[in-house]
Amino acid sequence: MNASIENDDRAAAALLKQLKVMPLAAARERAFARVQEEFQVQNAPLPRRYVARWAAAAGIALAIIAGWMWNGVQSAPLVARVEALDGVIESRDDSLFSRASQLATGSTIAAGTDLQVHEGAGVLLRISPDLTVRLAENTHARINGVDELELSQGQAFIDATPGAHAPLRVITPSGEVTHLGTQYQVRAGDHEVEVAVREGRAQLKTADLTAVAEAGHWLLHRDAVAAPLMGEIAADDVRFEWIGTLPTGFKLEGSTLAAFLAWFHRETGLIPVYSDGIEAGRFAQVQLKGSIDDLEPFEALSYVLATADLAWHREGAKVVIEKRLAGNG
């Protein structure tokens, strides 16, 4: 441990020790007696006649429900896994009697599942090793299969590894978007759809037109207007910012700095460059240790570079990596 880590350890120990107050033994026993009393009430058996009636009724009901639901259950393959989430996301599958439930990290999603992303929330879904979909807050979407997403309201960011066969159709009320190896965002609004492409190309097809958006461009189609609007968009545009709050996983332990920077580039769209005076070849092969679980890309960058005695600063769409100076955070 270096001096700074040791100091942090000592300071945390000294401060937090003050919070170690203990309840009196008598207070503990009083509390336990009350908790135990409640526990016994919770676990008291129901009178036998009610148990028998309830058991019979429940058995009949379950048999009926199981029969009705069987077809729906067996025909819904799993199509995605929740890799990261933030806030409340409600899901509802299309089986009979389905109820809304909250998504959790690591849970799987069946074809036909409706997702409602609440305000302030977001979710990263992995459909295949080469394809992820992020859904922003206030989004309503339905995953019909591994190659089809219905986006009725809100925003989705699709990341498909270039060159990999990972097709996906995004169907909005105003048009359908497809791609070839790309990173792009689709926003479905009232009577309009917008596609913003960070990498590769995406195609928008509506009832009346077919248009292609290239990397670094956005395309907006309004139902009431014949010709789409187009414009440029930088990889670090504010419209992409929410994506960084839902990073894909990266196993730091044993990876090289070069691999980490490639991940960072994919997550943020920013280009990492080494400043003059840094032996890029040597640093690129530095073996990394530790974990960046739960860190957003910029936090992870600061943490990782600090371990190699490096720092960074932004220059437009570039992240310049430089030697760490004394006192440089």
Partner: protein
């Protein structure tokens, strides 16, 4: 998380041994959680911790395991504290819940200055409250991990198991948590020295 789910399953099955483990593991932690928020009122902290466990038992079937069991209990405990603060004028006159909002907090902050004997006690309680607040405001699991390490005095291996990380990842996170703790203090214009007795 797996341990939490298992414990909840055992409780739902009516396992008495699991109840004792549940109580032993969480009562003291909840007591400390409440104590710092109630400015060192031991009796109220005891009520808050006890009521939390009682309410938790009633709500166990609803525990989904998305967050850790303690996070879930802490949420219940916050509500308990807010209830206690609201219900008692005596409490409102001498305490501020960290989680109390609006009129409750305003009313509590508007109380007259305590006498000199109370003033001394307040300095200590205020210090604890500040430390607790900084701890609670740390992002992600940092607060929980620091709490387990320095208050509950768990070793890194046990913490790693609890939060579902490898030993190395837990060590890294603890290091970052300490750094975040120091940064959070500095952001308030405080150093560790300012919060020592």
């Amino acid at each position: 998380m797996e341990q939490d789910r298992l414990l909840v399953q055992q409780l739902l099955a009516g396992d008495q041994v699991a109840l004792r483990r549940f109580f032993d593991e969480y009562f003291d932690r909840l007591y400390r959680f409440a104590y710092a928020r109630l400015r060192g009122d031991a009796a109220l902290a005891e009520d808050a911790a006890q009521n939390t466990l009682v309410r938790a038992l009633r709500g166990l079937p609803g525990f989904r395991g998305d967050a850790g069991l303690f996070s879930w209990l802490a949420t219940i405990c916050r509500n308990e504290i807010a209830d206690l603060v609201e219900k008692s004028a005596r409490i409102a006159a001498h305490t501020v819940s960290l989680d109390a909002e609006g009129s409750v907090r305003d009313a509590a902050q508007a109380v007259a200055a305590p006498d000199s004997a109370g003033d001394k006690a307040l300095v200590g309680a205020e210090r604890l409250r500040t430390i607790r607040q900084v701890l609670d405001e740390l992002p992600g699991r940092y607060g929980e991990m620091l709490e387990l390490k320095y208050i509950e005095e768990w070793d890194v291996e046990r913490i790693a198991q609890r939060v579902g990380l490898s030993f190395e990842a837990a060590q890294s996170q603890l290091q970052r948590a300490r750094l975040a703790f120091r940064s959070a203090l500095e952001a308030r214009g405080l150093s560790a020295q300012d919060l020592l007795p």
